[in-house]
């Protein structure tokens, strides 16, 4: 079956795709030359331009049949390399632009340029633009090897961000991240080599027309998938994520947690939905979702047991990444073929929702850290009064993330639930509900502590910076309003869904999530409740006592398991085991 000729020629507006990559790259090079004094100005100048390009692509896409193509150097694949944008690319480009701009505003208001180190701002701004360039390349790249280079670009930009503060623990986290990510890329590259050997092209579109269920393809698919899983930090390949994301400066953490892990996830979507389609089959999709469910449970339970806010948020990222992988089995149609339907749309909206909310959360936590001089959960009493904007940001982002109306997560959850019903995989509905409840648990835990009265008057180490806080707040609001956006031109969303966003039914669902979350937080979090003194609590404690002891025991067990899994050799073996498992399940399917 030949590829449709229209997708092998440059379309109108194709140059926008080039510009979306070139503008941030030019920013990187320019600020590298002009050095420390101008780096911030250049970055702040690149941001509106880049955002405008992303919006232009968003507007141009529906005009041209829903895709934009550009042939680089006018060479058509397989010899040349093409850039292609579809609805998925367009929304990811736009979301990335918004998050980068918000983080940029946050960081610009955050760091007075004259003070202290010149090293940190220089590295931060250059790397921020580099991450943008890499992500845009990932979103519009049409060739698996170009995607590999973009993935490496992303890694090279992300790793130094982790160790910006230069402490020994952050250096160790960065080194671990780099090495594990490199192994992941090698796996991806291995798969690429096999695919080229089989079909003589790495162009995604050409490959999608050429692949068939040969053993080589399945092995390549397994290798590439597990390499990308390692880069996305899906449980149990998550050893690098918590220390890396918790150790970086707040603005860097926001980018790392919100955007960087989505890069490899997006390539995984491209690989499964655009290249492999029918090949992975039922069992492999179940494996991915099972790992995702594991990530939700382990990540959330360990998050509830962290005593530092940043680590809590980092572990929450782990759980949220798991949530994304639930989309794979739900996207299967009757013949075991992956269908670009509501499940994919839901997964992508969830990814964007998490990106915005998590970036906002990390920025809020960064402000709290800067304000209090620490981020111990048990010591943040009274913060709500001292730093109201930060706590509100955290709350709004948390509400969006746990699936309250009209957040993106609630829309995503609706879509995914719809697909569980359609495909009859009721078991994943449970995982989806639990995911929301777990999110509610750790968000509420933090909020209750922040809202409780302080032991002693809160002494702020630094005054809150209005600009930074507003940027974070804007991003949190964004996340909370995602459910209201018109997604139809870009993502396949059944129209019927949006009408029932505000109903009694959805209110009940939200209530269940919140109540379930409260119960989980009480049962699983080891921290003394701020209201322990009150009488009502004592009564409750008597009833819940045995359950809570059991919950804490379970939590301790999970945490110990997590620590074992985060050891390097164990994680490496897990990676190989996942590869073998995926390959075996794909062989079983065909």
């Amino acid at each position: 079956m030949p590829a449709p000729a229209t997708l092998l020629a440059t379309t109108a507006d194709g140059h926008l795709l080039v510009l979306s990559i070139v503008v941030p790259v030019a920013g990187v090079l320019l600020s590298f030359v002009l050095s420390e004094r101008y780096v911030r100005q250049i970055a702040l100048a690149v941001m509106p331009v880049g955002a405008a390009i992303a919006m232009a692509i968003l507007l141009a896409l529906p005009r041209g049949d829903g895709f934009i193509v550009y042939l680089l150097g006018a060479w058509s694949p397989p010899l040349g390399v093409a850039l292609r944008a579809d609805g998925l690319s367009a929304v990811m480009l736009a979301a990335t632009a918004i998050i980068i701009c918000a983080v940029g505003v946050y960081a610009a208001a955050d760091s007075p340029p004259a003070a202290g180190s010149r090293r940190v701002p220089f590295a931060f701004w250059v790397l921020l633009m580099a991450i943008w360039a890499a992500l845009n390349t990932i979103f519009v790249g049409g060739d698996l090897f170009t995607l590999y280079v973009a993935l490496e670009l992303l890694t090279f930009a992300a790793v130094p961000l982790v160790s910006l503060e230069g402490r020994a623990d952050t250096l160790r986290a960065a080194l671990r991240y780099l090495l594990f990510a490199l192994v992941g890329s090698v796996f991806y590259l291995m798969g690429t080599a096999l695919l080229y050997g089989l079909y003589g092209t790495l162009d995604i579109l050409l490959l999608s027309h050429r692949v068939s269920a040969e053993p080589g393809v399945l092995i390549a698919a397994a290798l590439m998938t597990s390499g990308l899983l390692a880069k996305t930090a899906l449980f149990p390949l998550h050893l690098w994520l918590p220390p890396a994301h918790a150790g970086a400066p707040a603005a860097a953490s926001a980018i790392l947690s919100g955007l960087v892990v989505k890069g490899s996830f997006f390539i995984l979507l491209r690989l499964w939905f655009d290249v492999l389609l029918a090949l992975p089959g039922f069992a492999a999709a179940q494996i991915l979702a099972t790992l995702g469910a594991g990530a939700i449970v382990v990540g959330s339970i360990v998050a509830l047991r962290q005593d530092r806010l940043k680590l809590l948020v980092a572990y929450s990222t782990l759980a949220q990444i798991g949530y994304l992988f639930l989309l794979f089995p739900l996207a299967l149609d009757g013949q075991g073929r992956l269908d670009t339907g509501p499940a994919l749309a839901g997964g992508l909206i969830q990814a964007i929702s998490h990106a915005t909310a998590k970036a906002a959360m990390f920025m809020a936590v960064g402000s709290i850290y800067a304000g209090l001089g620490h981020d111990r959960i048990t010591g943040i009493g009274g913060t709500a009064r001292a730093l109201p904007l930060s706590v509100m940001t955290f709350a709004l982002a948390g509400f969006a993330l746990m699936g309250l109306q009209p957040g993106g997560a609630s829309l995503a959850k609706e879509l995914l639930l719809l697909e569980t019903a359609r495909t009859g995989q009721w078991w994943w509905a449970g995982a989806l509900q639990f995911g929301g409840m777990f999110t509610a648990a750790y968000v509420l835990l933090v909020l209750v502590h922040a809202l409780s009265p302080p032991d002693q008057p809160v002494a702020l180490a630094a005054r809150p910076r209005r600009g930074s806080d507003l940027a974070a707040l804007a991003l949190a609001l964004c996340s909370l309003l995602l459910g209201l956006l018109p997604w139809q031109p870009y993502l396949p969303i059944p129209y019927a869904l949006e009408s029932k966003l505000f109903g009694v039914e959805s209110l009940v669902k939200s209530l269940i999530t919140v109540l379930g979350g409260t119960a989980l937080a009480i049962l699983l979090s080891p921290w003394p409740h701020p209201l322990v003194g009150t009488m009502a609590w004592k009564d409750l404690a008597r009833v819940l006592g045995p359950f809570r002891r059991a919950g804490l025991g379970l939590g301790g067990l999970v945490e110990r398991g997590d620590r074992v899994l985060r050891q390097w050799p164990v994680a490496g073996i897990c990676m190989l085991a996942v590869t073998v498992l995926l390959a075996a399940s794909m062989f079983g399917a065909d």
Binding site: V18, V22, V25, A26, V28, L29, F32, V33, S35, Y70, L71, L72, G73, A74, W75, P78, L79, V81, G116, R118, R119, F122, A123, V126, L127, A130, A133, T137, F145, T146, V149, A150, E152, L153, F156, A157, V159, P160, S163, G166, L171, M190, L194, G197, L198, Y199, G200, T201, P215, G216, I219, A220, P569, V570, G572, I573, L576, A577, T579, V580
Partner: protein, 317 residues
């Protein structure tokens, strides 16, 4: 079995032997030496595979730069040697070994079962060589057909420099990278550096220049030039420039910057981004490559020097 096959099996066996040595030997230093030897030898396989461009790359990187990088690190980390007790337990190692063997077996099976006749873009790349006027097909792929990858890879090099520099202590930011090497100006090393550097520079430029039509190219030439700079540095004849130097920064982005500018010119005036007008293709590509050689040589040299750790003032005895 023909004599050629016997030879190939032997070559593979020696290479694998070195690989095994690298992985299983106890001391890190011995492993490092084993890997450097491996890196030198692997060039032979690339020649045997008729991929001379890659052979040159492996020789320049594996032979020279990797060796300096890894051996230098091994010597500096020697005190960290008694960490062997952190080795994973027997069960873990056995599992890892079993899974690695399984991977190898699967991979080997897949490679042996690849389809015949093999798909190839060789005819297409030869048929389209007219567009650039260069007759080295690998250079054509790198500079024309897949120019985007090459450009992004040069940005990766810039980021690697930013990453390495970002590790500097705040006090040394903007200073010179790495330790200042000292050596007897009339000693053996200085003698070698004085004699070898000019030869090496000629060879580096030759390898780059010949890359238009024969195996070679900007990266290989740049790597050789970087090694010569490194030799002069190690012999105390030259010093790394301070990282805040504007000319240095310009050189470091010259390759990717020029690539970008030519690409944009193609977008504005030509057929497409990164396309060259056929009449101008050869001079444009060579121009980019000249800038890239300089950039690559400087980048690789600086990557090996490490993070800035001294003040920008020139060293005085």
């Amino acid at each position: 079995m023909s004599i050629a096959t016997a030879f190939e099996i032997m070559l593979a066996a020696v290479l694998l032997g070195l690989g095994i040595w690298t992985i299983v030997v106890r001391e890190t230093f011995s492993a490092t030496v084993g890997f450097v030897a491996y890196g030198l030898l692997v060039a032979l396989i690339w020649v045997r595979l008729d991929a001379a461009d890659v052979a040159l790359t492996e020789a320049a990187i594996g032979g020279g730069l990797s060796g300096v990088l890894l051996l230098g690190a091994a010597a500096r980390l020697r005190d960290a040697e008694p960490m062997a007790e952190a080795a994973p337990g027997k069960l873990l190692r056995a599992t890892a070994a079993a899974l690695s063997v399984l991977t190898t077996a699967t991979l080997a099976g897949t490679v042996l079962l690849l389809p015949d006749p093999a798909p190839s873009l060789a005819p297409a790349s030869v048929a389209n060589a007219w567009a650039t006027g260069l007759s080295n097909p690998v250079t054509n792929v790198l500079m024309a057909f897949r120019a985007m990858d090459t450009m992004l890879e040069k940005v990766v090099l810039v980021l690697a420099i930013v990453g390495v520099w970002s590790l500097a202590p705040d006090s040394a930011w903007g200073g010179r990278p790495g330790p200042r090497h000292r050596a007897d100006p009339y000693g053996v090393l200085a003698f070698l550096a004085r004699l070898l550097s000019p030869v090496g520079i000629v060879v580096g430029i030759y390898v780059f220049w010949t890359g238009a039509n024969h195996p070679g190219g900007a990266f290989q030439g740049g790597a050789i030039l970087a090694s010569m700079w490194l030799l002069a540095t190690m012999a105390g004849l030259a010093d790394a420039p301070p990282v805040s130097s504007r000319p240095l920064r310009l050189i470091l982005v010259a390759g990717s910057g020029l690539f970008l500018i030519v690409g944009l010119a193609g977008l504005l005036f030509g057929a497409a981004f990164l396309s060259y007008a056929p009449a101008l293709a050869k001079p444009l590509i060579l121009g980019i490559e000249v800038a890239m050689v300089l950039t690559i040589a400087t980048t690789l040299g600086l990557l090996l020097s490490g993070a800035p750790e001294r003040s920008a003032e020139p060293w005085a005895p």
